[in-house]
Symmetry: C2
Subunit: 231 residues, 2 copies
DNA sequence: TCATAAAACTGACTTAAGTCAAGGAAATCC
DNA sequence: GGATTTCCTTGACTTAAGTCAGTTTTATGA
């Protein structure tokens, strides 16, 4: 099926991790990697499963999470297109340290471990790109850690909404907004709380006149106030 | 001063990051890096300062932390000898994203950014080592994040003590123990709480017959129980 | 389009852990 | 070796956020 191959190649170009590679290198990668698609709620892999390789999300969204023994879920990342995930064990050995689940219909590129490690040995550029990617991720997780231990839920929610508004690109509208595409339970687990508390926090931000809620759409009435809460 | 140079070279050998390098490469590194020593409570660098390079701890211990606007401290890492710190911004640009302070008299090797990046371009092995280091760190921070949002303080303390007992190497004694070398306030900020709550948690573990406290020494009376609490 | 299930909300209650204030123990310094 | 500072502990109180239980709203699929 040459269509998929071309699609791979075209898309590979846009993946930060691969952006500087030559056509031949991209062709090589697409030769040993595989497209895998998932329905909403499908598991992509489970914690402790044998590690086979990593994924790049092409379409849709994915949550990366851990379950505690009591069954409580911590969402570590919400993956958006063109981002790699489950790449850490490449260099660590061991099984998958987390689980991943599609939040909507999603398309991924699966890149098997061995083949990719071979490539990286011959291609120092890729490892530098990966280092940059890891560095970014470390920074973001450190941020999350700091937030969770020093801020209250409404502040964390404000920060989350702010980030979403930025990625939605509506920040400069008179009334910025986001459409929540992932369930509130996932947002709750991501900002380190539970749905009930999240619900109350939404209400609090509303009562303070900072946001306005209309179904799944959140309108920001007071961007300054939201920023103030977030920092 | 040839003594320091030799000391560098000998020590570089033992640093995981450099363990696989040739003598010439080690010599090169030691030629452009500098020993820096710090007294207890000395700042090594501050958040937002211009990034000049990273450090490897040779002797002593260092806390890497962030201060929230309200002045609350989150301790992200407690660095022990032969570990690199502040290496993330090498690949990320920007200033120091955290602060670092010596917890006791400490000796570090300072490695300037530009020179090291040059080395890494010519030496793919080093970047693979760094990738492994980052991967390990990511895993540990993810663990911290999960703990902090799913476990209570006494559980987190149990986990901390368990790790300390392991690194102290007393795990297999009839009564394993650790000597706390860092202030309780730092332990508290590391496990995401405050000194008062930490103090009460120590008491709780004592009342439950799991540990026995003698000054700065903590004896583990019930290792099984401690492990149970920690997981 | 209705029926069933999933997701989100609300109120009453409980609890872990933070705040404030004070006292005691240890380390550190002339 | 006493004094000062730093560190640690304790008690009384407050509060943010979790639990539980019930209801409403929104999706989803026959």
């Amino acid at each position: 099926m040459p269509g998929t191959l071309i699609e791979n190649k075209d898309t590979l170009r846009n993946i930060p991790l691969f952006s500087e590679l030559s056509i031949e290198q991209l062709r090589k990668i697409s030769s040993f990697s595989k497209l895998k698609s998932f329905e909403k709620r499908d598991r992509i892999f489970n914690e402790d499963e044998c590690y086979l390789g990593f994924y790049i999300l092409l379409k849709g969204s994915v949550k990366v999470f851990k379950l505690s023994r009591s069954g409580k879920e911590s969402v570590l990342h919400i993956i958006r297109p063109l981002t790699a995930f489950a790449d850490i064990p490449l260099f660590e050995g061991g099984n998958y340290p987390v689980s991943a689940e599609a939040l909507e219909e999603s398309l991924t590129l699966f890149i098997p471990k061995e083949k990719f490690l071979e490539l990286i040995y011959t291609e120092p550029d890729v490892s530098l790109k990966m280092l940059a990617g890891f560095a970014k991720r470390l920074k973001s997780i450190i941020n999350q850690l700091e937030d969770i231990s020093s801020k209250e839920v409404p502040n964390r929610l404000a920060k989350y909404l702010l980030k979403e508004v930025k990625t939605a690109g509506t920040e400069n509208l008179p009334e910025p907004f986001v459409k929540l595409t992932i369930p509130k339970s996932t947002i709750a687990a991501y900002i380190g709380t539970i749905t009930e508390t999240l619900s109350r926090s939404f209400k609090k931000l509303q009562d303070e006149g900072i946001i306005r809620v209309n179904g799944k759409k959140i309108f920001v009435k007071d961007l300054k106030g939201l920023k103030e809460l977030a920092k």
